[in-house]
Every structure is written in C-alpha cells, then in structure tokens.
Symmetry: C2
Subunit: 213 residues, 2 copies
C-alpha cells in the first residue's frame, strides 16, 4: 500500500461508495456533493454529445460546441474538488495536534486551527460555485439540445442544485467555528445567493424539460 | 475486451463519469440518479458508523444498528439499479429491430416494444421507491445520529430527493410512449406521490440538520 492519498476517481466506483459509507473521515458529504455535481455536468456533456454534428441540430452547433467545453471544464473542476475535499479538513486535524502548553503555543495553535477551518470552508464553497455553473449549463442544454436527451439535461440541473445545497451545509458547519467575522459574513451570504440561484435555475430547467418531453 | 456488459461499480469512478458524458446510450440519467441515491445511502451509513459503539450514543445504539442495516440494504439495491438501468432500454432497442412486413409481424413487434417500454419505465420507478427510503433513513439519522456528522445526514436526504426527481423524469419520458392506460395512470400517480414524499422528508431533514449544527 502506498503512503499517498487515495485518488478516488482512479478507484472503482464501489470503493468510493464503500469509503463514503464507512467511518473513515473521507470521502464525506462535501466530496460526495462534488461527485454529484460532476455527474450532473457529465449529463450535460452527454446531451451536447448527442446533439453536436447532426444536421438536424446544425443551427445550434456552435452553441453546443461551446456548451460541451464549458460542461467538461466544470466536470474536471468538480472531479478535482471531489478529491480536494477529502483532504480539506487535514489542516484542522493537524492544527489540533499542535502543542498548547505555553501562551505562545496556544496562540499559534489557535491561529493554525482558524486557517485550517477557512480552507475546510473554502473547498465546499468552491463546490457550490461550480455546481451553480452546472445548473446554468443544464438550462441551456435543456433548451437547445437534442430533445430525446432532454431529461438528462433536466437531471443535470437537479444534480447541480443538490450539489450546491449539500456543499453549502458543509460550508455552514465550518462557519460555526470560524472567528473571522468578515469571512463568515461573506461566505454565509455567498452560499445563500448561490443556493437561491441554483433553485431558480433548477426550476426553470425543469419547466423547459417538461415542455420538450 | 469481453462481450459482457460493463459492470460499472467495478470500473474506476472516472470511467463511469466519462461514459455518462459520452454519447454512449449508457449510463444515462436513470443510472446516474440511482448512483446519486446510492451516494445518499452511503452518507446515512457513514452517520451510523460514526455513532454506533460509542458510550455517548448508547441510548440509540439499537436504532442505529437497525438504521445502518436498512441504509446498506438501500445502497445495495440502488447499486444494482444503477447497473440495471444501463440495460433497461435494450428490450425496446431489440424490439424496434424486429421484422415489420406482415400484419402479424407488426403486431408482434408492437407488443414487444410496449413490453420493453414497461421494463424501461419500471427500473427508474423502482429507483424512485428506494431513493425515497434513503430520505426516510436520512431523516432518522439526522435526528439520532452523531451531531458531528449531521450535515452528512442532511446531504443524504438532499441526494435521496434528487435521485427521486431525476429518476421520475425518466419514468415520465417512457410513459409518453406506453399505450397501457392503466399502467400509465398508476405509474404517473406513483411518481407524483413519491416526489411529494421525498420533498417533505428532505425539508424535514434539513430543519433537523440545521437545528443540530
């Protein structure tokens, strides 16, 4: 067994599921939310790939080419975040192990814990941002993509929103321990905004999907 | 390369994501919805595994043991449905290839197409049913599980609901082509009911989660 971290996209899907169900610290809800966002992005990519290069959809070809590039970029980013989240809390764990006998040690430890918590909140916050992008792309795909795959675009938006709401919960749990009030306020307002945007996009995409079934 | 179907849980997660994004017929939105439900069930399992066997949570030990069994059963079922959905439409594809020259051939072909469509709708309908169960279990886990993992229970319910709504879209697209009015009516009312139940459970679980953060 190697000492390096498990690279989850290279492992069998069964290993990812089993590790998520175990009491191992990772993958947890943040990584799983990123995975769900990546699955949503993949479905948007599928809709594009079932649309591009077909005479019937020639009028949207250039938009579809742009869309598949954007969805694959979002997927790549979420696949990286799926991995990043599995180590995002390590800084906090390491900081808690620091010595705390002298006042200076206590101050250094507290500062390291706080820095670690901000990293641990930043990763799911970034998952929220990219997953909202998945919702935006899914809405476009539902409107212009091959109607035979329209439910896949609809499901893409549902998964994008689920990833936003899931990752937002993990931002929130970390904010409870962060003392930097400006950071907490900015992050809390960002996740509120991103969740509202995702919910609106998912609802709009759902309407478009039903209208093209 | 073997002639058998790809067993997706045994393949790297990257292969599942890449195949979902490709124009290959599978995995599509139904299988991906089952995968998301399985991820939700895994998170419920994780909450249980971070709760059981600890003195602090001894008063809920027997409920937790039951819960982990139920969540692992739901996960196993959804992992199977993730696979089943990748071949659920094969019967329809095969039926469309049947000869259609004589009236007898046309009748046999039409009957085979209809039978295939019902299989193709039954698989995502079953995904909906099991994913609602994930929401039920997540709600219990959020209420009695280790509060340090409460967001994972909350995310479990979000993913369970996303799986229900996603798979329901794939039931709906198949119902449009099914001529058996009794089947269509029963399936349409089942998915409406399951989606409403999942939405209520997700909202309740979210409230519980926020109250225990």
């Amino acid at each position: 067994m190697s000492d390096g971290p498990t690279i989850y996209v290279s492992e069998p899907l069964q290993v990812y599921l089993d590790d998520a169900a175990s009491k191992k610290p990772a993958p947890g809800g943040g990584s799983v939310s990123a995975c769900v966002g990546a699955l949503g992005a993949a479905l948007v990519g599928m809709v594009c790939n079932l649309t591009r290069g077909r005479d019937k959809f020639a009028d949207v070809e250039s938009e579809i080419v742009t869309l598949v590039g954007a969805s694959e970029a979002a997927r790549g980013r979420l696949e990286q975040l799926l991995q990043d989240d599995t180590v995002a809390y390590n800084g906090v764990i390491d900081a808690y192990k620091m010595p705390k006998e002298t006042e200076a040690e206590q101050a250094a430890r507290s500062q390291a814990v706080q820095a670690g918590l901000i990293v641990a909140a930043d990763v799911p916050l970034e998952i929220c941002r990219v997953a909202v992008e998945v919702c935006r792309l899914a809405k476009i795909a539902a409107g212009i993509g091959n109607p035979q795959a329209v439910t896949d675009a609809g499901i893409g938006a549902i998964l994008g929103e689920a990833a936003v709401v899931g990752a937002a919960l993990n931002v929130k749990i970390n904010l409870g321990s962060i003392k930097d009030a400006a950071y907490v306020e900015a992050a809390a307002s960002a996740i509120d905004f991103l969740q509202a945007e995702a919910a609106a996009l998912r609802a709009e995409t759902h309407e478009i999907t039903l209208s093209r079934l």
